[in-house]
Symmetry: C2
Subunit: 446 residues, 2 copies
């Protein structure tokens, strides 16, 4: 077969077993939280008709989506997110019981410039509640975010909260024209990056009158506890019913979070400047920030009451969030928050020589039937040193050895790879003793 150079696409990754162990552990942990809240698993195709995404996620998706024409001349695209497919599936299944709660853990694809923590194929963990406009549905999503991050060892994080309704009230309050509202959102969304004066310049550059810019900056500069910010906002926006509704929705969420054992004063920060890029949000929006490492927001979400209905042809208010697995893993790695469990074998059964193959295979079979993850050395039989080296490289904690003399005595040798300690055990005792060694905390490794 002709030699081929092995090359991977830029921005794409292979996950070797050691990396996979941590990824799977974190995804499994999130999944347990999702299930504990009654979210149901589902999956949707990787490929969608491109038009499904058109006009849904905003301009960015148009430029970042992997689009192409398939062999049947259809315009198709690799899914850009898990939210638009959610809306599409709900639209195709009018019989689903509402409120409907699903989670979806899967890769999405975007033609981004690859850089630290940013890939062209990356995993999202989404939870959404469709068909509920209750504040308890909003609060539950925030509680899920908090519980997921707690469960993987995060201690310092803040959920930044705002509401699209107060945001548009803020634009009206400033005196910006309806056309200028989007310029206002785009500008203030950069507050964290470019500061107050930067936002002012940005707004002026976009043609906003100076007095309007001032009024915007007045509102987004309110300092204090979340409840103080909300009180102040409500005063400013008191003549704007939508703005007041937005403030009250945020207050409801903050009030309900303690019922989920989430300390809202510690975990949630109201920030009137948070906009979030996606066009479809209609109510609360939120992101989770960590101070270190600098990876950007690790989760993002909000309420979007019209997207699902636009496929379903009826009103289906929805709230949800995506947890960004890649960034969360980066935080876990950088701060050494958790150790990955060993995904590999517990025991390597060595093969003494050509004539021992059957014996070793049978021994392994006994162990597997007892539930022990067991590898038989499949390289050339003999050369025990090489076989023990193999166990070391794979971090297999125990090995079993048996030469002809031991087999004649109906015994095998159990070796603890960490300590080098060895002992003889009767053949029929092997499974029991290996299980005991794996479970024991003294001497033998777990």
């Amino acid at each position: 077969m002709a030699r081929t150079s092995a090359q991977r696409l830029k921005g794409f990754r292979d996950f070797l077993p050691e990396a996979m162990a941590l990824r799977r552990h974190v995804m499994g942990t999130f999944e347990q939280v999702f299930q504990r809240y009654g979210f149901l698993p589902w999956e949707t195709p990787s490929l969608e008709l491109a038009e499904t995404f058109d006009g849904k996620t905003g301009q960015e998706a148009q430029t970042l989506m992997y689009r192409f024409t398939d062999r049947g001349d259809r315009e198709v695209g690799l899914r850009y997110d898990l939210t638009v497919p959610l809306a599409r599936v709900i639209g195709m299944h009018p019989d689903l019981p509402m409120p409907f709660k699903r989670y979806h853990i899967a890769p999405v694809w975007r033609y981004e410039r690859p850089q630290r923590g940013r890939f062209r194929e990356f995993w999202q963990c989404d939870v959404d509640t469709v068909g509920s406009s209750e504040p308890s549905a909003d609060a539950e999503i925030l509680a899920v975010v908090s519980e997921c991050l707690d469960a993987v060892g995060f201690s310092e994080y803040r959920i930044v909260l705002n509401n699209r309704k107060t945001l548009s009230a803020l634009a009206r309050f400033s005196g910006a024209s309806p056309e200028q509202a989007v310029d206002v959102y785009r500008s203030i969304d950069k507050l964290g990056k470019i500061g107050v004066e930067g936002v002012r310049e940005e707004m002026l550059g976009r043609g906003l009158p100076p007095e309007a810019a001032n009024r915007v900056l007045e509102l987004i500069s309110i300092q204090g506890e979340s409840s103080e910010i909300l009180d102040a906002l409500e005063k400013y926006l008191t003549d704007d019913p939508e703005g007041v509704t937005g403030v009250r929705e945020m207050r409801s969420v903050l009030d309900l979070l303690p019922c989920f054992a989430v300390d809202s004063s510690r975990r949630v920060v109201v920030d009137p400047s948070l906009a979030r890029g996606l066009d479809y949000y209609t109510g609360i929006v939120f992101e989770t920030e960590v101070d270190e490492p600098k990876v950007g927001s690790v989760t993002g979400g909000g309420r979007y009451d019209e997207l699902v209905g636009s496929f379903a042809g009826r009103s289906l208010p929805t709230v949800g969030t995506a947890l960004g697995l890649e960034r969360i893993l980066e935080v876990i790695a950088e701060l050494h928050l958790i150790d990955a469990p060993n995904a590999g074998a517990d025991v390597l059964v060595t093969v003494f020589d050509e004539n021992s193959v059957a014996f070793s295979l049978q021994l392994a079979g006994d162990l597997r039937r007892a539930g022990v993850r067991t590898e038989v050395y499949l390289g050339p039989p003999g050369n025990l040193r090489r076989q023990l080296g193999h166990a070391d490289k794979l971090h297999i904690p125990l090995t079993l050895l048996a030469g002809p003399d031991e087999r004649a005595r109906d015994e095998v040798t159990l070796r603890d790879m960490a300590s080098g300690e060895q002992r003889s055990i009767p053949r029929q005792e092997v499974a029991r003793q290996v299980l005991a060694a794996l479970h024991s905390s003294e001497g033998m490794p777990v």
Copy 2:
């Protein structure tokens, strides 16, 4: 937001929660078997450089692969299988400990004509052992296939076994020219579909001399037990060293399978006509057949000693198999082999009225902390009938109800949805009693 018609691409599927429960259960079962044998999990990108697949999987891949030019003008393709990416990754990681055993459960994409059991996006479950030419590695893969199928309730299946070495010896034996060998393979691979006379016509049509066709048919028509077929083959091919090697490799596999507790006489059938489409096989090849339903082979694999090396630049003999999840699920569904476990909530906490929201959320929190999967009704509070209907639709076995009077007595009502039976329990006993009800086999459902 503008109305969008909800459409899914032909040949692609959404997996709603009920379907997912079974899919996940089967994949989880396979994964446990893989891990018990010491195979390690890994993942590779969905998208590869198209050239990675070129000349590897044969002509079919060229026409069936989803290929396109990305925004950076690269020729890329959605992965056609999980085997070529395996070879590519091994080629990029010369430091992996050998023999290296990995499993990979993931979707692959082929532009097939959609039909019953055939999709454009479908899941494969692959296990491969790289860097071993031992017959025990071959036998282990067959044992894994057998254990996986046993674990999901298959009882009637046969692993059909052949060897590429005997196959090419058979072509030589017939007198076909080396160029005609491929015509011979293609023709005899259809034996099951078109019968002996069909194969004869096919070969003659492809220009094979009649006496060569006769000799081919003589060999592939050998009847009997596997060991008898192998004995006969060895006699016919006695002057062809490669053919004899092929026969002996199959014999070794059959001899080793009992060490894995696989009854080779019952589970394995040698069939000298089995070719398998893929170009890269070099040793044993095998497929698994079931009589009912007619879904084609449910697993397929073999030894391919050159593919991995063609990326790695050194010899890395490899054996592996793919389990076809979609067909296996079809067999499970058709024969009702296993029931999917409930993936949803164990309990629905109802919400009596607006003023009960906090109480219901706190009650749910207690249950979740006790490990109970708990949903709080997130539709409008009140209307208990609707809430109980919701629990029914979602197959949630237990519900909790609490009106103001009960709350005043610090009690809640636990309702078994199957029997309709209700009883009052003290508020602080809820988690314990719900767990007991879930675990009890009498009265309350599990």
